[in-house]
């Protein structure tokens, strides 16, 4: 366990990377606001959610350290994400075809 902890510490990013990610997040926010002004029809929601997903990917991987943490945490994360996906999918089998 000691070993794991040291490893965890060694890979912690410094101030620079955090600020870089923050700037990326701000840029993505301005992109999503700008794109929302353009009428993309059916793609509007898709683009908005895609950008939100990229943003959350950055937050989860860097700010929340999942990239540098125990691998099992990634398994947990995908498990809960997959569960959420399945709930949506199955519910929409009802909503769409009702």
């Amino acid at each position: 366990m000691e070993h794991e902890k040291h490893e965890h510490k060694a890979h912690h990013p410094g101030y620079g990377i955090y600020i870089l990610v923050w700037m990326g997040l701000l840029a993505l926010t301005s992109i999503t606001v700008t794109v929302a002004g353009i009428d993309l029809g059916a793609y509007t929601l898709f683009v908005a959610l895609l950008i939100a997903a990229i943003k959350s990917g950055l937050v989860i991987n860097i700010f929340m350290h999942i990239k540098f943490d125990e691998p099992i945490f990634k398994v947990f994360l995908s498990l809960s994400g997959f569960t959420l996906f399945v709930i949506f999918l199955l519910t929409f089998f009802d909503v769409i075809y009702r």
């Binding site: 809960s80 709930i87 089998f93 009802d94 909503v95």
Partner: protein
């Protein structure tokens, strides 16, 4: 453990407190997983007896047609309370909170759970939830009468104390979530050296899978309940059809939790069955990996079948057949378990002690419950029996005949370990038999009545149902009588039973390597695990009775 010597007389967890207090405070402020398990046992058993008594009154009302001892509104309240108490206060927390708390750390060779203080907190949250349920009965407005499913729109329109009762369910869910977080972390972080994943006892696997459902499913009911409360209190439009809401969406969200919840109820019971069958067959489990994996498979597939509670709700036909198909798939991992249990007994040297008899009871009753579930899972037959006694009979066979029976099985299996005393085995054997008789008299006629068209949740019935209703009511007397008899001889055994040894049954999982009752720190030294979980060759080196 490499050798099976039982530690020299060490003080038990009853004698040594984990905190600086003594007397009652040493219990109320304890962080010892065993003491918390006992506190859960006392609280949960109390509510089980309350729920059983309510059930007794419901059956008494149905002894004769028309009004017998109560009117319709009282009956509505009673079946709601019976459901809420039995589901949220007894059967969901029952096995994980009592036996999971007590035995999960011991079985993986740990001294406690990962977060002992959080464990105590979840106990108190449970108690607060339970108190809220009780308070909601007595404040103005009257006790909740919606049924335990709180369906929209009635639950927003009725004047009874819905908000407080369902807030209690929210609080109880929170307690359940914290227990789940604790158990998952415990299994990942605190296994003893050598205790690899596939050396864990099957009860641990089952409780681990259960803990995941508690974490992943419970929040959905949490938010659903909050939405109903917000809708009742502030009039915000979410589910109310008058404001454009969708009551079927409510049903989806309710069952997204409440269906996986039935696996929270049954999975730990299946884990206990695996323990008891191996111990009394003196034989390693047949198909260890399939049983362990089937627990995870049930936890996962069980998540995908919720809408089979809603076949007649008006949801889309596409959804109904998809959910019907998924429902049949969930029968597969359950079948894997049953076959492996039976195969374990084959050529074992079976010792039919009391816990084993309870398991036989379980296999019989649970099989009837499971197979009648297939009738409900097929779309055409479901339409005929939806909302009849058939459904009531089905889920009592599965929940009570399954989890309830194993609650008693686990109680009889681990009683000597938890309390260091043995109960009267003759009384216990008689109880298994009368339980079986009472149970089938009470619930089997409901299959027939349901098939004949007797709807559930009515305080009255047509004269043609009278003979079967009478049989059912008489069965309830036998069953509840047996339950109180069991409570009686177990309480008597607490003080007056003969002292139990460290290993009265000849079990080999870690809890049987330590004294009864266990010492506060569980193990003198954290064991290093070298054996497979059910390697009965260890018995040669262990001390055990007979």
């Amino acid at each position: 453990m490499s050798n099976g010597t039982i530690a020299i007389a060490e003080k038990s967890f009853y004698e040594v407190s984990t905190n600086k207090h003594s007397g009652i405070l040493s219990w109320l402020l304890t962080t010892d997983h065993k003491r918390i398990g006992i506190m859960y046992l006392v609280t949960i058993a109390f509510f089980f007896l309350v729920g059983a008594t309510i059930g007794l009154f419901m059956r008494l009302e149905l002894l004769t047609p028309g009004r017998t001892i109560m009117g319709a509104q009282t009956y509505n309240t009673l079946f709601t309370l019976h459901g809420v108490i039995m589901i949220f206060l007894f059967i969901i927390p029952g096995l994980p909170a009592i036996f999971g708390n007590f035995f999960l750390p011991i079985q993986i060779g740990a001294r406690d759970v990962a977060f002992p203080r959080l464990n105590l907190l979840s106990y108190y949250i449970y108690v607060i939830g339970a108190i809220l349920v009780l308070v909601s009965l007595f404040i103005p407005g009257g006790p909740i009468d919606t049924g335990w499913t709180f369906y929209i729109p009635y639950s927003i329109r009725t004047g009874t104390n819905v908000s407080m009762a369902i807030f209690a369910a929210f609080v109880l869910g929170f307690s359940s979530i914290l227990t789940g977080i604790n158990f998952v972390t415990t299994v990942h972080r605190l296994r003893a050296p050598g205790m690899t994943w596939f050396k864990m006892p099957l009860f641990v696997w089952a409780t681990y899978a259960t803990a995941w459902i508690q974490i992943i499913a419970t929040p959905v009911i949490g938010i659903t309940i909050l939405l109903v409360i917000i809708e009742r209190v502030f009039g915000v439009g979410i589910f109310d059809p008058a404001l454009g809401g969708d009551p079927i969406l409510y049903q989806h969200m309710f069952w997204i939790y409440s269906h996986p919840a039935v696996y929270i109820m049954i999975l730990p019971a299946m884990g206990v069955v695996s323990e008891i069958i191996t111990t009394f067959s003196r034989r390693t489990i047949f198909g260890y990996v399939p049983i362990a994996m089937s627990s995870l498979a049930i936890a996962f597939v069980g998540y995908l079948v919720w809408a089979h509670h809603m076949f007649v709700s008006g949801m889309s036909d596409t959804a109904t057949w998809i959910f019907s198909l998924l429902t049949f798939i969930v029968a597969l991992p359950s079948g894997v378990k049953i076959f492996n249990w039976v195969a374990t007994m084959y050529k074992g040297s079976i010792d039919p002690q009391v816990p084993f008899l309870w398991v036989m009871n379980f296999i019989f009753l649970f099989s009837i419950g499971g197979l009648s579930g297939l009738v409900l899972g097929s779309l055409a037959t479901d339409v005929h029996v939806t909302d009849t006694y058939f459904v009531v009979a089905h889920f009592h066979y599965v929940m009570f005949g399954g989890t309830g029976t194993i609650f008693f099985g686990a109680m009889h299996y681990w009683f000597p370990k938890m309390f260091g005393r043995m109960y009267n085995k003759k009384f216990a054997t008689i109880s298994v038999i009368t339980f079986f008789i009472g149970f089938n008299m009470l619930y089997f006629p409901k299959f027939i009545m349901g098939y004949m068209g007797m709807p559930r949740r009515y305080y009255d019935y047509l004269p043609k149902f009278a003979p079967l209703q009478e049989v059912s009511t008489i069965g309830s007397w036998i069953l509840v009588g047996t339950i109180f008899f069991i409570t009686g001889y177990l309480l008597y055994a607490l003080r007056n039973g003969p002292k139990a040894s460290g290993n009265p049954w000849g079990g080999v999982t870690l809890e049987w390597h330590i004294p009864s009752p266990p010492p506060t720190e569980n193990f003198e030294e954290i064991p290093t695990i070298t054996h497979e979980p059910y390697d009965f060759s260890q018995l040669k080196e262990m001390e055990y009775d007979k």
